[in-house]
Amino acid sequence: MIKPPTPRALILAAVSGFQYSDMTGVLIGEEHLVYGANDRALHMLHLNEIPAEGVSWVALTPPEYQGSDDRAIVDAIKYGVSGWFRKEFLVGAGDRIAIDLVAIATASDPFRWIAFMRLAGSSPLQVQHASSFSSSERSSSHDDATFRLARRLAGAVTLRDVVVAVDRLAAGSLGCEYVNFALASENQTLRIHHVPSANPLIAERWDEIPLDRSTLLGECLLNDIAAVLTIDEFEERYPALGSDGRAMGFSHLGAAAMHTEDGRVVGVVGLGWRDEQLNADLDRIRGVGDLIGNATDLALNTDLARSMASAFQEMLLPTKLDPVVGGDVHVRYQAVDRAVGGDFYDVVTGADSSSWLVIGDVVGHGLAASRTMAKVRFFLRSCVRSHIDPSEVLALVHELLEAEGLQELVTCLIARWDPKVSELTFATAGHLPPIVCSDISTVLEIPVNPLLGLPGARFDAGNLVVAISRPVRLLLYTDGLIERRHEAIDTSIQALATQLEHHDRGGSRPLEELADALIDGATSTVDDDMALLVVSLLPFGGSLMPD
């Protein structure tokens, strides 16, 4: 039977836990990315500055540990979790640094894993500060740091992942029978996240509790401590909670405040043991609390950033396109997994009633990409009021982006349709070539300018002018529609051209159906946003033309 912790011991433990955390980081990766992960781990441990020939983790990993990561990842994929394991890195003359790791398959994608790691025991190196994706990103003074973090992690961790991970950790690391964690909600309550294995009756009864000191969870969170109590002590101290704990057969109940890496308290983890011989280790409990705190923080940031960014993008894409004289236009945009991409399109009427059909893609994702996309569209809309040369417009937009000091690179393709002379004028800034179809498809070769925003770029490639003498369908698209790894790009583009030809049925297909067929038939093997703009154009005299 353990000795109940005294209040003084609890306070001391809390203070030391607050000031010294052995958490060194969380890593998220895919099945085959073990190697990069090791390098990242070395970086977290500040070992990548060790002078060595072509510093690589392989050189720093003793032979007996070389296969341990692969085994852990295989276990994580097979069983969901690897269990804690230890590995060592060689540092300097015979010194070794040991870290403990656990790899967990994420709930959303079984081939994506999260590894939590921390320094084991005493280390010959002084680790200056814990470092990971989140802290290194957060410490950046750049105002978009949070969103760059989210961009990197988008799709990686969700609260559901955390819940599953907590469930798996509980038995493995702490020998508990029961675990949950609670996050403070706005109305002074604690919202409890139960793990899938929780007793459903208990889960239903205790889904929300007041955020005050009348419960063990509330007390540990508000006092920023970890504690373990025997069931007798628990009932004496928190009479309002009744005897659910005893009814479930618990001998001990515990809780620990969950910290983020920068020391904020984000919630509290609750634990239950049925083992009379329990030897509770408060450091270990605190460690698990911080681990969950860290993961929760990532998940919440990701969720928040995602919902903000997608709302933002919805606001930024045009809801109404200008009509095209002598033509008809249909657009489709399909985002991947609600994460926000940088694809954009627009249809704008120029001063001379020409139509400017635009498609583009900001390299990168997230709020920064959305902001740049909005700027590009705004600049384009302004420029076409006073210019008629698409390549000049690209050059102007590039200058304006440079003047704003925006970092993102943007591909952009403009097709200017002049109905008076039935001509299409194309200019591109590193965007995929357009396809025209009039019974048969042709991929147009347009002189290529560099990407918008490329430092020192010159936009002197000029335009391609195409006279339209019969009804055509014109397709502008983004790389999500064709991107296929390990296939020649031109083969992928040609495949799309063939699809267009096939689905267009000699120009008889309604544009909306045509766009749907192209999206549905997309054979992309890369999760990326897709945007397409399909236009049907009739040459002068081919339709009712205003003059």
Binding site: G29, E30, E31, H32, L33, V34, Y35, G36, D39, R40, H43, N48, G54, V55, S56, D70, R152, D361, V363, G364, L409, T411, T428, A429, G430, L432, P433, V448, N449, P450, L451, L454, P455, G456, A457, A461, D479, E483, R485, H486, A488, I489, D490, V526
Partner: protein
């Protein structure tokens, strides 16, 4: 791991780096980090990135290469043994003149 998966890897060489595998959103961060470390160059100050065994580059990968080229003198980044698909990507994105190509892979 099956042999068919060629893992992403970046190794420092005598005049720059050799990169292997797919450069995409999941590896471009690591590449960027490697590029920001100590850099070796040729005698005339160029940085050579050997991309012969690069199997795929997405836009985030391009961004990292462009970032590298903006850190050195104009035309100071050479791509060695670029496979056809890498060269084609550079053409399509108007970046053919941003990088110097050396010994393009004959395929």
């Amino acid at each position: 791991m099956p042999d068919s998966i060629k893992p992403f890897q970046v190794i420092a060489t005598g005049d720059g780096w050799k990169v292997t595998g797919d450069i995409d959103i999941s590896s471009s961060g690591a590449l960027s980090e490697a590029f920001s470390g100590d850099r070796r160059t040729t005698e005339d100050g160029r940085v050579v990135v050997d991309v012969e065994e690069v199997t795929f580059i997405d836009s985030s990968g391009l961004q990292v290469l462009i970032d590298l080229s903006s850190q050195v003198a104009p035309g100071g980044v050479t791509l060695r043994s670029a496979p056809r698909n890498v060269r084609r990507l550079l053409e399509l994105t108007g970046l053919s003149t941003t990088f110097r190509l050396e010994n393009p892979a004959a395929d």
